[in-house]
Amino acid sequence: MTDQRSQAEIVRQSLKRRYRKERRFRAYGIAAIAVALAALMILFADIIGKGYTGFMKTTLTMEVQIDGEMMYLDDATDERQLKMADFVEPLVQALIREIPSATEADRDAVRDLINPYASVTLRDRLKENPEWLNTTRTMTFLAHTDVDVYAKHAGDEAYSIKLSEQQQAWVDQLQEDGVVETSFNDVFFQNGDSRDPSKAGILGAVVGSLLTMFVTLILSFPIGVAAAIYLEEFAPQNKLTDFIEVNINNLAAVPSIIFGLLGLAVFINLFGMPRSVPVVGGLVLTLMTLPTIIISSRAAIKSVPPSIREAAEGIGASKMQVVLHHVLPLAMPGMLTGSIIGMAQALGETAPLLLIGMVAFIVDVPDGFFDSATVLPVQVFLWAGSPELAFIERASAAIMVLLTFLISMNALAIWMRKRLERRW
């Protein structure tokens, strides 16, 4: 009796210990997931927190007297005169009028509040409307980068404010008066890269990315699908086929930077193609994404049931007709899904593009496949390495744009998989 009882006691106690262990093990699992998700959240929060200010610009809205005499300009339609005229002076005078405490002696300090680009804006506006000469107009200009940083990050210790205390007081005053305002940063979406953060935008990189992706898509999708069809439907069981298959699986796991080395050695050195152009970038990314597309296309072809093939063969279709008329349309949704995922990978890829020279500082928006260009991830890389903190918020904002593209592409792929994929 006592023996049994003590045994039961032992079991009960060990059970307690085992249940504790069980709970602890579960807690580890939950903790692991929590760590991973927390990392994701921190990453997103960090980038949004750093970057949302990148979507804002600081502007000056003031009444500008477009005084011909002050600008040495008497005919606003004359190209030569427009080139020589002084477009800075009216802006400085306008801003001095907006700041009650500023005098002519402060003109240098006042001029430092206006973006160097603002005078170009004024000239362009006047070129479009020559009749504005010798009138007073209310216009909006970009503020200087230092004003921009101060307006967005006053009090933030990470940012060094380059304005003097007097200038800071002026900007505070101007903000109260509504002269200095922050608004949605359309410049960011309309410009290419620039040395001046307030002028720098992502349009050049976005167009470069689109051109590169276009080359990648028109090459990798047909080639990938054709290769998958061959391997899945026509390939004889022999050594060559095995070798091709092993090769494709290996290529899928080769580090991306190796593809950059390949592109540099073959396309640029051997073929003499130009550096840093979308065509070469697209070719490199094609070679890189092909394995992904081939593997997913093969899976899609495999999922088409044999009964469909047999039915088509039964009424006399040739092998090629079976494939092109029956198997391919049914496998297409799966192939497209795989390709979208492959393209999303290619869109986020940076390392191979660095090696083929797509890291150049390019201001212009590329207008062709053979034009020097950069792509979004590389633009992020360039801005992230910039010593000016104002570029960091641009980099974060560009990351947000990039992630928006990627997440919507992946969402599209998931939606297509749910919507279009059939089960037999």
């Binding site: 093990f25 699992g29 080769v254 040739s318 092998k319 986020g348 660095l354 890291v359 998931i414």
Partner: protein, 462 residues
Amino acid sequence: MQPANLLLLTLVLAVVAYGLGYARSRALAMPLGGIRHLKSLPFYYGARAALWCGIPALIVLALWAAFQGKVIQVLVIGSLPPEMIPADEGSASLLLSKISNVASGALPPGFVEAPIVEAAERLKALRGQSRMLMTALVISVAVLAGFLGWLRIRPRINAREQVESILKWLFFACAALAILTTLGIIFSVAFETFRFFEKISFVEFFFGTSWSPQTALRADQVAAEGAFGMIPLFTGTLLISAIAMLVAVPVGLLSAIYLSEYANKRVRSIVKPLLEMLAGIPTVVYGFFAALTVAPFISDLAASLGIEASSQSALAAGGVMGIMIIPFVSSLSDDVINAVPQSLRDGSLALGATQSETMKKVIFPAALPGIMGGILLAVSRAIGETMIVVMAAGLAANLTANPLETVTTVTVQIVTLLTGDQEFDSAKTLAAFALGAMLFLATLLLNVIALKIVRKYREQYD
């Protein structure tokens, strides 16, 4: 004409050939009493004519476009006066960029010697000629071959079989591209690597403990040789990969276990895609995060604890890389754990084991080989990862095991050696290819072993 436009034109010509072939086959069939007397449908005759027209023209176009740049370069260099012909490839590429700058108008002709201006003129002329020749050749090949194809349409010819066999060969060519890519990688990397080992000895590269290629910029420099010992890069890569695996393996494995054994369907359907999102984020974003948030945080933390830490540390790069790798480990482990048959679980639970005991004593040992394979794949990813380390790990080749110090990796050095101005005969540039070869071989080996393990294990329960 631009190659891109010429490509479009060729496609248009092929479409025209299709239409003409289609029409001709119908016309031939008319006197016989309708298209049922043809061997194939008119569609196939049209397609045959289009393939005849398009394929040779596209091959000519591709070859021409691929090699014209190189041929023109050789011609331009060859036409220079003998005393100006560069002795080595490095100065040749410099000279060429000068010439093409003059040709494109970026460099005013007044600033360079007369022969270079002449060469620039010749370059422009050759480019124009090449473009014209290419246009003429491609169009005439397309028209001629298309015409031949059109002419040879006979009711007796089995066009369908021919079209299908051409298509089959095209499909095969696409699949063979994978071999070509691998060969391209091997040859381009191997060729430059051999040239590297002509300059730098084997022993120095594999056993040297100092890496400073940047000092070898000019021959007349002091210590012009530079040091090419890869051991510090190798240890740096291993250190960062080890840190990454220390983060990724426990987190990935435990979350996979929780998701496959404990979590209900709803939680799983939310958490799994969220985890996989970590794998979809571009590496440049992780690099940004590591360099601008994690690394300063670590160095501040270390400073507040009184430890000296560099602003770019192996810990920051490795830790963030670990986060990136979590989904690789977790989804592969998830697959493997799910592949363990339910009967093993049921048996263990029926004997009175708790779920965690079943997991630890039964399922985990059964899944271990597969999990090992998955981890090896993740290691090869960590070794080949570039952007995070480029942005967050640093450039100084320290031979250290201290995770708070800055280290450099193989991939970082490849990028730094190959961005910026290059001359293709210096040991500095060639070293990048030698490093690339090492990286390729190392990851290839890991991948092959990992795939073998995963595959072998998976077959056990099938």
